[in-house]
Symmetry: C2
Subunit: 227 residues, 2 copies
Amino acid sequence: MPRRKSLDHVVVPQAVMRRLPVYYRYLGALLARGTERVSSQELSRMIGITASQMRQDLSYFGSFGQQGYGYRVRDLHRAITEILGLHRTYQLVLVGVGNLGRALVSYPSFANRGFRFCGLFDNDPRLIGSEFCGLEIRPVDTLADFLHQCPVDIGVITAPPEVAQQIADVLVAGGVPAIWNFAPTSLKVPKGVIVEHTHISESLMVLSFRLNNPEEADTSVESASNQ
Amino acid sequence: MPRRKSLDHVVVPQAVMRRLPVYYRYLGALLARGTERVSSQELSRMIGITASQMRQDLSYFGSFGQQGYGYRVRDLHRAITEILGLHRTYQLVLVGVGNLGRALVSYPSFANRGFRFCGLFDNDPRLIGSEFCGLEIRPVDTLADFLHQCPVDIGVITAPPEVAQQIADVLVAGGVPAIWNFAPTSLKVPKGVIVEHTHISESLMVLSFRLNNPEEADTSVESASNQ
DNA sequence: GGTGGCTTGTGATCGGTTTAACAAGTCACA
DNA sequence: TGTGACTTGTTAAACCGATCACAAGCCACC
């Protein structure tokens, strides 16, 4: 009988949080394959971590398995879906409709999982007024107004670093509680506003470092985070 | 007198490695601003870590500062450039010329830092034969041949997850020592081949989790990693 | 040249994350 | 129904990374 903990006043370690999407991904694959049950040993071996770690991670959120049986794939998948907040929908705006911005807007699995883009912004006159994926591209200086009329959950910044802070300020002033930042720069935001950086170029630099510093340790590295 | 350690048989912790690009970025900004010297206190405060951590991180690679003075921005920048391997050039191939692939190929700061795309591959007949950024888009089934004629340092996978493993196999067989993977799937590669995952969608899921689980802890989180 | 203030590099300590171990509970099958 | 093999959730131990604290050394100014 899967039982979810309350989570209030329980601090989830960063390291655990970063692994949740990995569990979600592998469980999704098992689900698609029609697998009904899985043990912590099987799943953790697929992922490449220890069974102990997986069980301990899950224990932050509740009890989802049965001794001697393991986990029902469907139940655990659903549980993690809810833990991650993927059972609800989110309104997104994106600022900076370059190649990266277009990649994100047109990425099908975002829409499938409830991430709905409701506004695209740019300051390139050649783009403004045109459509992409059924959305009009609007001038950046109308962003503040837009936010007043349409509440937004997540602001995505795929603009050049020089203007990233400025955009973040407008998003914050407009009441956007979370920012997904792809600009290679840090953002200063008031306490309480959530910022998730995805610095693609840093990932390439790590690759370059690893190419030049042969480790004897294992080679595969998943993306995770902390500051 | 900046002094670089040998690095052989010194294991650099993942966490340290992930911070190197951050140091590099901030030092670059200082350099561009014309700042000559910086103390660990100043720099770490900008970044949002402790001065102790920064000094300890640097100590894995050598001694780059001077007591009572701090660090010469230019020297430290150059040192980290070399540690990261950004002083040399790399040949890249990219497989999957969608929006994300185009974003990477056209990103100017990659070319500026020595990352040279020398081959683009796709299996969409509408793309094959056309040009992007001065490079012909070739059919994926010519990738193996291409790798025999042109040695490649990094293979970039921006293709759908269903074909990612297949592409990785061809890259590995072709002697490519490192793979930069954007497909939302894990890759099985022989020991010794370097794989750096950049799972964009996982980053969004973490954001969604954080939106639904208000932490009292600090809010800004940089991208880093481990597996 | 001497003195004071400042800053580095590093050993010691602290805290958090990962691994190990086990009691309790479930299923399958005789 | 009883037994054995299996698996969870959790407590304890080991490990690793972050912070602290300080001796050693440098610069600037008197």
